[in-house]
């Protein structure tokens, strides 16, 4: 069985990508930002997920004003970096996980969330900047990624509650996938910022810090924040934070906060970041993460043919079915 082991939430400021691409990470201004993600990179090295689901928004890169899907799931085998006006970012092509993506699409749609399926998509800084922050700048990304693009550009985006509920449906989908996979879900964007109009530059650290606190212990409270409140309090573009609730919805009600970081500013934006772990479940992967052999996509496909019971036996973990607590209510 696949499982969601943790949620990683992080801002996805384009200027962070530009600082990386132009070798500015050692400048004091940027060092303040990047040093906050050093522990996160170490955490990620240890966690070594088999797949990441990355919830982000497209910034007029893959989707123009012709078609604006509210939730679009990337089901392709790969996603090249988009040219956002400066040339494509010099980052590796993002490899997808079409099998798990197809499974999630089917499960979530039958669960009454009407996703849009995307078989061809370029990905922008919204997706690639958080990947850099958590994985550094490798030649190849260490694991496949399923992008979930959420419309937050054309008003109205999906509500905070809808996002939280979608997270729960995604979790259900992941847990009904037979292959033994550890999945990390990312929520990206935010925190408070406004980049448009005479009110640009708005930052609300008080709002952001309360959001971080509640995200861990009282996420349901956050699902009651209206769009107007997000925009008024956290800036017109601060509404991106609804995407963090998808990631949070995919976790248990009670989670462990593994790490948190907050700094103002990066360019126009308050940078927020948090890692929350799901409680470890019996029947999960038994070997310590660092000793696991690197799983390639090809090997993963082979595994999928085994039945869950056979696989569990192979892992020497209890073959009996473990009942899991219901998804966070």
């Amino acid at each position: 069985m696949a499982r969601i082991i943790a949620a990683v939430c992080s801002s996805h400021v384009p200027a962070i990508g530009a600082a990386l691409d132009n070798g500015k990470t050692e400048e004091p201004y940027w060092k303040r930002v990047f040093s906050g993600f050093e522990p996160s990179k170490k955490w990620m090295e240890k966690a070594r997920p088999d797949v990441c689901i990355i919830v982000y928004n497209d910034h007029a890169s893959a989707f123009s004003m012709d078609i604006v899907p509210t939730f679009a799931l990337g089901c392709a085998a790969e996603f090249p970096p988009a040219d956002e006006g400066w040339g494509p970012r010099p980052v590796p092509v993002v490899k997808g996980h079409p099998e798990l993506a197809a499974h999630i699409a089917q499960s979530v749609i039958l669960d009454e969330f009407d996703l849009t399926i995307v078989n061809k998509m370029e990905v922008d800084h919204g997706l690639t900047v958080p990947m850099n922050l958590l994985f550094g700048q490798p030649k190849e990304w260490p694991c496949p990624v399923i992008p979930l693009a959420v419309n937050v550009v054309l008003f109205p985006p999906p509500t905070a509650k809808r996002c939280f509920d979608l997270g729960k449906a995604i979790r259900k989908a992941v847990e009904s996938y037979p292959e033994d996979l550890n999945v990390v879900i990312f929520g990206t964007g935010g925190m408070s910022h406004q980049i448009s109009g005479p009110r640009a530059g708005l930052i609300n650290s008080k709002f952001d810090k309360a959001f971080l606190d509640n995200l861990v212990v009282k996420p349901k409270k956050l699902t009651r924040i209206s769009h107007v409140e997000f925009m008024r309090e956290a800036g017109a573009e601060g509404i991106e934070m609804v995407m963090w609730l998808i990631a949070r919805g995919a976790l248990d009600e009670s989670v462990t906060e593994a790490y948190r970081f907050y700094t103002v500013p990066a360019s126009n934006t308050a940078v927020g970041h948090i890692i929350m772990e799901n409680p470890k479940k019996p029947g999960g992967k038994k070997k310590p993460v660092l000793e696991r052999p690197v799983k390639t996509n090809a090997a993963a496909k082979g595994d999928a043919k085994k039945t869950p019971a056979k696989k569990a036996a192979a892992r020497k973990s209890p073959a009996k079915k473990v009942s899991l607590p219901a998804a966070a209510e």
Partner: protein, 137 residues
Amino acid sequence: MKQSKKAKVAEKEYMDIPGTTVFDQEQSRKGYGINMFCMSLMKDENRKAFRADEAAYLKAFKLTPQQTEAVLKRQWNRMLELGGNIYFTAKLGATDSLSFQQVAAIMTGSTQEQYAAMMLAGGRPVDGNRSKSEWKK
């Protein structure tokens, strides 16, 4: 703006946020031409063609005379008022080698230095910037 029904006014509570044009479907319909023009600037050959003759390049998109003027004169706030969206107009900024922060500084009427200093000092505070009524004072 036509606001015939009371319900519509209530729905658009977000219009009370000062210094902000919320990009809703009404704006999106108005600004389709501007936004699709900006989208075309994602290709290097198009950026070159636009730089070579801006007015001629714009003719391929159905902009109103006001929208054309706003683009040619780089009136960033006016582009948003006329239906442009910041993520699209930012591509025009990139074509001009302007970052998001540089475009933002222009929209707030400050110099790059002033704007960068405001951000470093913690940004624009939310107090006094929540409602249009606060900006009238």
